[in-house]
Every structure is written in structure tokens, then in C-alpha cells.
């Protein structure tokens, strides 16, 4: 070991600087909290919150604890992110493929979409949908039914509610179908590698995923009925819909703008991925007699996905983080419920902001770990 001063000094100075800054902050925070009579601690989480949240996935009212309020916000954030990710992926893939279309009009149309939506700040888009576009919708009493059961009004979208009997059996049947598909896929792969026979896995999978849940209806005692929203008059000019599920306009505006915005970035990732696969690969695959479908499935997509997935993961993370803009239009997400209302009521700035940030960090890191795992799985395995 030969310690050189030049190796040690920079590290020591950096660490010292970091420690000093943090120490300075902590010291000040302690003095400030003493002066203002605030005590540090997470005990408030179990106290009664005494505020209401308009839209929540779990049962919640003012008598529940702050922790429950935190859960409500977290679930709402996850809800928006999941819906947004699904729509953005579908839209992004379609637009990304359209960008590569030989058809001039489709190509330009997709390019216009991408250039238009990604160059306007997301917050502005959310405001536009929420304050301008959705405000132009009809009042509940004037709304016309879409397909007879959906009602799109200024107060939100009303859709029929599913009323299940023995819902758990239905879920079990789906889980069983998925497990069966995984097993069959593994088996089919083995058979193909050992004997060269191909089992029609795709058809079997489709069959399984439909037949098993259907069986649960026929013999498992699962019943499904719909509850269609019905217009109800509260006062002479005040109407609401009763029954069914109501999606608040905040949720609609948020998912719409998040997915339209993120889809542009995903589209670019998809385009880059498909363009990144060499032309020779396609020609080589065709020349050994693969059908166009097989070329796409076995040669192009596996290689393109390898390029597409890392940047797309980043976009998913961005979407999740951008969902915090919900606070601007009062959609009760984590930031609004917890870092907004709860912080105002308790005044526990440090605790609440740190919990909020830690939650987002956990969400981001877990998505990226998941995607890294998948990425590693499909990476080129060099022998």
C-alpha cells in the first residue's frame, strides 16, 4: 500500500464538505424547530386526519389516520401511472410504427403528432384539458349516452359498475390460466429444442385464458351484472348520476395529457429501436425461409426490443414522476393529499416532504430494478 497524499486529500475534502453541509443543515433544523416549538417525529401518522378526500380507491374519511390518507394518495398516484403507462404504450407503439410507414400521409401525420405534443409543457397540456376542453362538456342532464351506458359530462365520466359474485374464484381462474400458460410455454420450448416439434403455444394460450374464466362462470358460481348509471334530480337545476362508477374529470384530464405527452417519447424510442435493427437481419431471415410474421416475431422484435426497452423504462419513470403534477388540478394524488393537505394541517414539513420523496424514490427504483431484470433477461447471451 502506498498512500499518496494526492489520492487521499480530494476524497477527504469531498466527504468533509458533504458532512459539513449536512451537519450545518441538521444543526439549523434543530434550532429552528426548537424555536418554533415543533418536535420531530413520525408519530403523527397514526393520528386522526380530519380531512376528506374526494376520490379514493379505499375506504377513507376524516376519522381515519394520516397514514391512511398517505395510502389513499399513493394508490391514486399508482392508478394514474398505471392507466397512463398502458395508454401511452399502446399509442406510442402505434405512432412509432406509423412514423416508419412508407405512406407519406401517415408518416407526416405521426411526425406532426410527435412534434406537436412533445414541445408543449405537460403542465400546460393538463391545464388545457382540465380547464378548457373538459369544461366544454355538457351538464349531466344534457349528456347523451355513448353506447347507451357511458355518460361523459362536465362532472366526469360515468361508466357502468361491475357487480361480481364470487369474484375471488374468477381471479383464481385467471391466475390458474396464467400459470398453465407459463408451464406450457416452458414445455413447448423444451420439446422444440429436443425434438424440433412446434406446439401451437399461442392458440393454446388464447384458449386457456378464455376457457378457464368461462368455466368459472359456468361451474364456479361466478356472476357478473352491470349497474348502469341513472340520472337523478337533486334540485330543480341540479342533477347527478347515481350508480355505476364515476371517473372524476381530474383523473380524465391527467391520464389523457400524461399519456398523450409520454406517447410521443415512447414513439421515438420505438422508431429508433426498429430502425436500429440492420436491414441485413431482415433479409437474412427472409432468405432462410422464414415467413414475414416469423421474421418480425423471431428476428426483428427481439433485437428491436433490446434497443427500445431501456429508454422506454425511463419514460415510464418520467410518467410516474410527472403524475405528481396532479396537484395543480386538485387530483388527490400523493403530493396533493400528503405534501399538501396533511402538511398544512400538521406543519411537519421535514417528515412529510421526506416521506413523499422517499416514496417516489422507491417507486422509481423498483420500476427500474424490474426493467433492469427484464433487460438482462432479453440481453444478448454471449457464449
Amino acid at each position: 500500500m502506498n498512500f499518496k497524499l494526492k489520492d487521499i486529500v480530494p476524497q477527504l475534502i469531498t466527504v468533509l464538505a458533504v458532512v459539513l453541509v449536512f451537519g450545518f443543515f441538521t444543526y439549523n433544523a434543530q434550532i429552528n424547530m426548537e424555536n418554533r416549538g415543533i418536535d420531530f417525529g413520525y408519530g403523527f401518522l397514526s393520528q386522526e386526519s380530519s380531512f376528506d378526500v374526494q376520490f379514493s380507491l379505499i375506504e377513507y374519511d376524516g376519522s381515519h389516520s394520516y397514514f391512511r390518507a398517505y395510502l389513499v394518495g399513493l394508490l391514486n398516484t399508482i392508478l394514474v401511472s398505471v392507466i397512463g403507462i398502458i395508454i401511452a404504450t399502446i399509442l406510442g407503439v402505434i405512432v412509432g410504427i406509423a412514423r416508419l410507414s412508407p405512406n407519406y400521409l401517415i408518416n407526416k401525420f405521426a411526425a406532426f403528432y410527435v412534434e406537436f405534443f412533445r414541445n408543449i409543457p405537460l403542465l400546460l397540456q393538463i391545464f388545457f384539458w382540465y380547464f378548457a376542453a373538459l369544461r366544454a362538456l355538457p351538464l349531466p342532464q344534457d349528456a347523451e349516452a355513448m353506447f347507451g351506458v357511458f355518460f361523459l359530462t362536465i362532472k366526469g365520466l360515468y361508466v357502468p359498475a361491475f357487480i361480481w359474485q364470487n369474484f375471488n374464484i374468477f381471479i383464481y381462474s385467471i391466475i390458474a390460466a396464467i400459470i398453465a400458460i407459463i408451464v406450457i410455454r416452458a414445455h413447448a420450448k423444451k420439446v422444440q429444442e429436443n425434438q424440433g416439434k412446434q406446439i401451437p403455444v399461442f392458440l393454446i394460450s388464447i384458449g386457456l385464458i378464455f376457457i378457464l374464466p368461462l368455466l368459472s362462470f359456468l361451474i364456479g358460481g361466478v356472476r357478473l351484472s352491470f349497474e348502469v348509471p341513472v340520472l337523478k334530480q337533486l334540485a330543480t337545476t341540479s342533477f347527478i348520476y347515481e350508480g355505476g362508477v364515476s371517473l372524476p374529470p381530474e383523473l380524465i384530464a391527467l391520464t389523457l395529457s400524461l399519456s398523450l405527452y409520454t406517447a410521443t417519447f415512447i414513439a421515438e424510442c420505438v422508431r429508433a429501436g426498429i430502425q436500429g435493427v440492420g436491414k441485413g437481419q431482415k433479409e437474412a431471415a427472409a432468405s432462410i425461409g422464414l415467413t414475414p410474421n416469423q421474421v418480425l416475431k423471431l428476428v426483428i422484435m427481439p433485437q428491436a426490443l433490446r434497443i427500445i426497452i431501456p429508454p422506454t423504462t425511463n419514460q415510464y419513470l418520467n410518467l410516474t414522476k410527472n403524475s405528481s403534477l396532479a396537484a395543480a388540478i386538485a387530483y388527490p394524488d400523493l403530493v396533493l393529499v400528503f405534501a399538501g393537505t396533511a402538511l398544512m394541517q400538521t406543519g411537519k414539513a421535514i417528515e412529510i416532504v421526506s416521506i413523499t420523496m422517499f416514496t417516489y424514490l422507491t417507486l422509481s427504483i423498483s420500476i427500474s430494478i424490474l426493467m433492469n431484470w427484464y433487460n438482462k433477461k432479453i440481453a444478448i447471451q454471449e457464449k
Binding site: 469531498t14 434550532i31 409543457p121 396537484a327 416532504v353
Partner: protein, 480 residues
């Protein structure tokens, strides 16, 4: 004439198919056009369903007839190649053409034909179109926020001066070109800062922070003449010593008042706003986040494990949290971390927060560039006897930065698009001002116009930036 098979258009009956096909295609477009622009329904006599679908069917058949390969007519071949390769593409092309024709009249009438431009009260806006009068009346607020009308020339003058000073690079002769980097990295930001602080806000020149700036610049300039053997220790001590000397021995409190420009009122940052605030914030965050990001990118690739871990922690932390919570932190949590009598303006706090946040993204982009450089570059630089800093400044960074121009441009675009979020700390740039104007009782109901106006402005800025970065990328593209 040979026998015609209408299901298989071919070259032998080229003219028949061409005339028939283009006639049908023309009819279908004309039908939609008349329907959309003049509310005429040519096919109104047909049942509803058929009348709706007829243009599509006619157009489809028409396009099918003119889809003849190698027809020998240049334009027809081009048309077939671009919009009419197969049935599926033909239908999609038709749909897009119809959508464009259908959506043009409502958009045009809302934007121009039914819109009101004149007047300066809400009363002129009676039509069904947009009320651009609203934008006209509120223009000053959207551009300058609550900045006093009589003082707005200060913002205009500063911006013009800064743009002129910023464009020096285009006019520099070869003799001065080598100093441009120094100018843009050190001197120009300082001038910009002085302009903004001294002129737009009307503050005194000599205050704590400016000692720091002067100390840093002086030490960098002297640093050029220090032999590299002592450089490391020099930079440890001198900046701090200079700061102390400047603050406690050279300038005294009485200079503070002396430095203030006569006749300029102090305009507090709470009154700043509108588009000019967007520019100010983007500009400073851009200037600050770049060196910070570069430092952390180098830190992440450093040989010293402690520095590497700290850099990774910094980068991953900021990349993992949303900007809105960072701003929340700067608004409610940060004041708790400072001594009680120590006050930092909320604009400065917002700029610090956004800079640190974007710096993490810049760091990752630059790291990508550093990793993409072949090892040979490092080895060659080392074999020439270059030290760490010399190697990075003269060999590695110029190449790495050239590689990551698109990535950096994207980060800066994201930065500009993130500025509206400063509403969290109570600053109102253009989107915030729109929300304020929207709730003014005299001007209710014009949300759409405001958002469309802001969207157009942002779109122009962002699109111009992305095109510029594309040009830059092409200009600096080097083959390896």
C-alpha cells in the same frame, strides 16, 4: 380495346382506369370538401349510413383503379408509391385526407374568421370564435407578470443587451475565437447576472455573493499562470482567501449603497413573472446545471470510491424524485435548514432547486458521452504526459460533449418545459399568469384562448431549440 377486367387494373387499359379512378377519387374528395366547407351534402338522398360511408367507398375504389405499377406516368407512380401502396394504406390515406378537410373549417373559423381582435373590453367578444382581445389586453401581464408597467423597459433593454452580447460568438474573428469558451463559461454568465440583479431588480452591486464571484474569477485567471505542480493546492486555498480579503479588507458596508444605480426602483422578485421570468429561470438554470452536471459526471467515473459513491447518490436521488416535490422542498423544508436570520429569495431558491434537479440529468447524459469514447483517447492523452484535468479539458470533454449534443439539448428542452412548475413556490410565469387572468371576474371564460396562446409560444421556443440542436449536431458531426 382489349377486354377489361375491373378487378385487376393493368397497363393495357391504363387510360380507362386512370380516368375512371381519378374521377371517383376526385368525387369523393369533393363530396367531403363541400360537406365540410359549405354544409352541402351531395349524397343526402341516400340512406344515412351509406351517405356517411360513400366518400370512403368511392375514394377506395378510385385509388384501387389507379394503383397500376410502372404506369410510366411519373406523378402517378409517385402517388402510388407514397400514399397508395396497398388497400390498407389507401384507406388510411383517405381517412387522413378526410380528417384534415373536416377539421380545417372549425379550426379556421375559431382562430381567424369568427374571432374578435379589436377593442379592449370583453364586450367585443360575442362571436363563436376565439377572443384574441383578451390576449391583447393581458399581453403585458403575460410577458412581464406584475412588473410595473413604467419599468418594463428595463427588462426589454436587458434582454436585448444580453442577446447582443450572447451573439458575439458569431462575429468573433479567428484571433479571438480561442477566448470564446472562457467568455461564455465565465464572463457572459457574470454579465447576465449583473444585468438581472443590478438592472432588472435594481439591487446594489456589492453584496456577499458578488465577493464570491469576483474571488472565483480572479483565482481562475491567476490560476492560468500557476505551474501545474502547485495548481491543486492553489485551488484549495486561494479562492477562500481572496473571498475573505475582499469581504473584510477591501470593501466595506458603505460601498453597498454606492454601488446602487440612481433612479432605479427595487422591484422584488415576487412581482416578476410572465414569459420574461421563464427566460430568466431557464437561462440561469441552464448556466448552473451544466457545470454541476459535468462535475458529477466526472465524479461518477472517478477513481476515488468515496467521490464515486457520493456522485451516484446525488444523481440517483435527484433523478428519482419529481421536480414538484423538489420545489416543495425548496419552499417549505429548505428554510428550516438555514439559520434563522438568513433569508434566500424564493426565485433564487427555485433556481437552485431546478439547477440541482436538471444537473443530475445532465450528468447522466455527459456520462453517456464519456463512456462512448474509446479507451484509446484516454491512453493517448496519458501517454503524452497529461494530468487528469489537462486530459479531460483538452482531450476527453470536447469529444464527449460533441457526442452528447442531442442529449443535452433534450435536457435543456425539458428544463424550459419544467419552468411552469415554479407556481409551487408562488412564482407566476406565463402559465401561472394565465391561471390568474382566467379567474379575473371581468374576463371569465377565456381559458381556451390563453392556453392556446401559451402553447403556441412554448411550441415555437421548444421547436426552434430542437431544430437548432439538430443543426449543431450536424455541424459537429465527426466521422470516426
Amino acid at each position: 380495346m382489349s377486354n377489361i377486367n375491373f378487378l385487376k387494373p393493368d397497363r393495357t387499359n391504363l387510360n380507362t382506369f386512370l380516368y375512371l379512378g381519378s374521377f371517383l377519387f376526385f368525387i369523393s374528395i369533393l363530396d367531403v370538401f363541400l360537406n365540410s366547407f359549405f354544409r352541402l351534402n351531395l349524397t343526402g338522398f341516400l340512406p344515412n349510413f351509406l351517405s356517411f360511408l360513400l366518400p370512403l367507398i368511392l375514394g377506395f375504389v378510385g385509388l384501387y383503379f389507379i394503383r397500376i405499377e410502372y404506369s410510366g406516368i411519373k406523378n402517378l407512380d409517385l402517388l402510388n408509391k407514397h400514399i397508395n401502396t396497398n388497400n390498407f394504406n389507401a384507406v388510411l390515406s383517405l381517412l387522413i385526407i378526410f380528417i384534415i378537410i373536416k377539421s380545417l373549417p372549425p379550426i379556421l373559423s375559431w382562430f381567424v374568421i369568427d374571432a374578435s381582435f379589436a377593442g379592449d373590453t370583453k364586450d367585443v367578444c360575442t362571436g363563436s370564435g376565439a377572443c384574441w382581445t383578451y390576449i391583447k389586453v393581458w399581453m403585458r401581464r403575460f410577458m412581464y407578470g406584475m412588473y410595473p408597467n413604467a419599468e418594463q423597459w428595463r427588462i426589454n433593454l436587458s434582454f436585448v443587451a444580453l442577446v447582443l452580447l450572447g451573439s458575439v460568438g458569431y462575429f468573433a474573428t479567428d484571433k479571438f475565437k480561442k477566448y470564446l469558451t472562457l467568455y461564455y463559461v465565465v464572463i457572459y454568465p457574470l454579465i447576465a447576472f449583473l444585468f438581472i440583479f443590478f438592472f432588472i431588480s435594481g439591487g446594489p452591486v456589492f453584496f456577499d455573493f458578488s465577493y464570491g464571484i469576483i474571488a472565483a474569477i480572479l483565482s481562475i485567471i491567476i490560476g492560468f499562470f500557476i505551474p501545474s505542480k502547485f495548481k491543486f493546492y492553489y485551488f484549495l486555498i486561494i479562492p477562500l482567501a481572496l473571498y475573505v480579503i475582499l469581504k473584510y479588507f477591501l470593501f466595506f458596508e458603505e460601498y453597498i449603497e454606492l454601488g446602487k444605480l440612481d433612479g432605479l426602483n427595487w422591484v422584488e422578485t415576487g412581482a416578476w413573472g410572465g414569459l420574461s421570468l421563464t427566460f430568466i429561470i431557464s437561462f440561469f438554470c441552464l448556466i448552473f446545471c451544466f457545470p454541476i452536471g459535468m462535475a458529477f459526471a466526472l465524479g461518477r467515473r472517478s477513481e476515488f470510491p468515496l467521490i464515486r459513491y457520493i456522485s451516484v447518490g446525488f444523481i440517483e436521488f435527484w433523478r428519482g424524485v419529481p421536480l414538484i416535490t423538489v420545489l416543495f422542498m425548496s419552499a417549505v423544508m429548505f428554510p428550516m435548514f438555514l439559520p434563522e436570520d438568513f433569508f434566500i429569495d424564493k426565485l433564487v431558491r427555485a433556481i437552485i432547486a431546478i439547477s440541482l434537479f436538471e444537473a443530475a440529468y445532465v450528468a447522466e447524459v455527459i456520462r453517456g458521452g464519456l463512456q462512448a469514447l474509446p479507451r484509446g483517447q484516454y491512453e493517448a492523452a496519458k501517454s503524452l504526459g497529461m494530468g487528469y484535468w489537462k486530459m479531460h479539458i483538452f482531450v476527453i470533454l470536447p469529444q464527449a460533449l460533441k457526442l452528447v449534443i442531442p442529449g443535452i439539448a433534450n435536457t435543456f428542452l425539458a428544463l424550459v418545459k419544467d419552468t411552469p412548475l415554479i407556481f409551487v413556490v408562488g412564482l407566476l410565469e406565463i402559465v401561472g399568469m394565465l391561471n390568474l387572468a382566467k379567474t379575473n371576474p371581468k374576463w371569465l371564460g377565456f381559458a381556451m384562448e390563453g392556453y392556446v396562446f401559451a402553447a403556441i409560444i412554448f411550441w415555437i421556443i421548444c421547436y426552434a431549440m430542437s431544430k437548432y440542436s439538430y443543426n449543431l449536431e450536424q455541424k459537429y458531426k465527426t466521422d470516426r
